[in-house]
């Protein structure tokens, strides 16, 4: 076995299905990529994708990206690693990406060995394990675990390394930390943990750490002393600022970041320009933790929602829009009580004045009289039927409610017919906890059955 001096990671895009120019991959292979790593997930778009176990990305977009990456991996004879398959990394998400992968492999006549790693967790299995809250969460009880539609554990690099070591050419992982996906192969090849983890964090969003985030992916070269990073679009550049600034992106703390096996410490890292396009990073550290921990994510149903949307252009109403909205809230509550015999505990609703203060509400520093306002009614109730009934009762008010000083009924501008849109189940994230484990792979199931 030869010693590896350096490992080159090709990250084509921040998210599988996000798209990238084909030249990104061609260029990466020309530069000697040893592995292709791409993240397939995120919690950023909210709890629905985990709760429902459905991907945020379109199947065709994922297939398009996958086809290019599978071809590249096969032609170069290098592994392809995909993390957090299907947005949330549930078993259904892994199956979804695996199904697309099998189709493409057959169509392209490629014989790549595929491993799948499952990260969904059963509440009953977790209940007996030591679980700790992360701020701002509180202690966890069994009922909360049981209430989740889906729970996933975020794997570190270890299950991915295990799949690669077993001979996988393609690893389709369930929920994994963004960094583990890129760190797995260099760690497996003996690269030092500090540079491997820091590089993995920098590349996890693809071109985000370059001067042109939309231009495609990046290549990171990790060696014994640090790592070097460059964009795969010749017209884009990595600068010490663009690279260092990526540590800020979607992080609470830009200097330290906890992984299952320990903490990435980049407070002492030095970013140096090698030339106008490439940056060298040294001084990154990884502190191995005393206790291995796996972060849990879970989402539960909070109710069912129905949405209705009207709009106001009448300057008289807009002149006192807050008064009008307060009256609308009051009238909906009264009418729902009178017609449906429902009280405040039976349902909930929100009135949002788009164009006025819908986004920031009372935090908005400068509400100004608008020219038109979209009025969204969002109702939530224990059943879809109740939510829609409330929205239907509100409908005449949203069509004709005058301001208190008007002696006639206005007619407002509904956007759609029917006025009500049933949104189905609404979800919330309820877990922000870690479970202490003895083995970094014990919560994850690696399926090598697909390996021929």
């Amino acid at each position: 076995m030869t010693t590896t001096d350096a490992v080159r990671i090709l990250v084509p895009t921040g998210m599988l299905g996000g798209g990238f120019p084909p030249e990104t991959v061609t260029r990466g292979l020309e530069l000697g990529a040893d592995v292709i790593a791409v993240d397939g997930g995120s919690t950023d778009s909210g709890p629905y994708y985990l709760g429902a176990g459905i991907a945020k990305t379109a199947r065709a977009a994922v297939a398009r990206d996958l086809r290019l990456l599978l071809r590249a991996a096969a032609s170069a004879g290098i592994p392809l690693i995909i993390g957090s398959c299907g947005t949330s990394g549930t078993d259904s998400g892994v199956e979804w990406v695996a199904g697309i992968t099998r189709e493409i492999l057959a169509e392209e006549d490629l014989s790549l060995r595929v491993a799948t790693i499952y990260s969904s967790q059963k509440a009953a299995d977790l209940a007996g394990l030591p679980i700790r809250p992360l701020p701002p969460a509180g202690p966890l009880d069994a009922a909360t675990l049981e209430s989740c539609e889906n729970i996933v554990g975020m794997m570190g690099h270890e299950p991915i390394v295990a799949a690669l070591a077993a001979g996988a050419d393609v690893v389709l992982a369930g929920r994994a930390t963004d960094t583990a996906v890129a760190a797995a192969y260099p760690l497996m090849k003996g690269m030092p943990a500090g540079p491997a983890w820091h590089a993995a964090k920098i590349v996890e969003c693809g071109g985000q750490c370059t001067t042109n985030p939309r231009a495609g992916g990046v290549l990171a070269t990790i060696d014994a002393d640090g790592f070097t990073i460059e964009p795969l679009d010749p017209a884009a550049a990595c600068t010490p600022t663009s690279v260092a600034a990526h540590m800020l992106y979607e992080t609470v703390n830009p200097f330290t970041m906890r992984e299952p096996a320990g903490t990435i410490e980049v407070g002492d890292a030095v970013y140096t320009a090698l030339d106008p396009r490439r940056v060298r990073v040294t001084g990154s550290r990884f502190e191995v933790a005393d206790q291995h921990t796996i972060k849990l994510e879970g989402a539960r149903i909070t109710g069912y929602q129905t949405m209705s949307f009207t709009a106001v252009r009448d300057p008289h109403i807009l002149g006192q829009i807050e008064t009008w909205a307060a009256l609308l809230r009051k009238m909906i509550t009264e009418w729902v009580s009178n017609t449906l015999a429902l009280g405040p505990a039976d349902y909930d609703f929100d009135i949002r004045l788009y164009g006025y203060d819908a986004i920031l509400e009372k935090l908005d520093p400068s509400p100004v009289p608008p020219r038109e306002v979209g009025v969204m009614l969002l109702v939530q109730a224990p059943t879809q039927e109740t939510a829609t009934a409330v929205a239907k009762v509100a409908n005449p008010l949203m069509l004709h409610l005058p301001t208190p000083d008007m002696d006639y009924l206005p007619s407002l501008a509904f956007a759609t017919s029917p006025a009500e849109t049933e949104r189905g189940a609404a979800y919330e994230f309820v877990l922000n906890h870690v479970v202490e484990v003895d083995s970094p792979t014990s919560l994850f199931r690696i399926d090598l059955e697909g390996l021929q």
Partner: protein, 112 residues
Amino acid sequence: MTARVIADLAHEVRSKNAGPFWVTLEIFARDADGYATVADPGFLDESVIASLYGVPDPRTIQVFRIPELNVVKISFPRPVTQGSLLDRDVHAGQHHVPLALMPLSSSRSSPR
């Protein structure tokens, strides 16, 4: 143009979720002078952020001052649960505006 609000000193002021339970805000100052203004704890600190964003406990707010990047970064627990009935900004992508429009003349401005 005379600088009036934080945005006038910045290349970019941005906000985003940092996971489902935290919001993070970043001021990328144009230069060291702008950085010096926004990094001054007498101008911007945990209590100012608490009043600007309605954060109930200022001790939960984390402020990072990064002179190498001319950046001030602020993180705090999400006041409204992500994706809930009352969440009007799922990615917290527009919550930079109260910070960006904070007047430079007064650090103790309060929301209306």
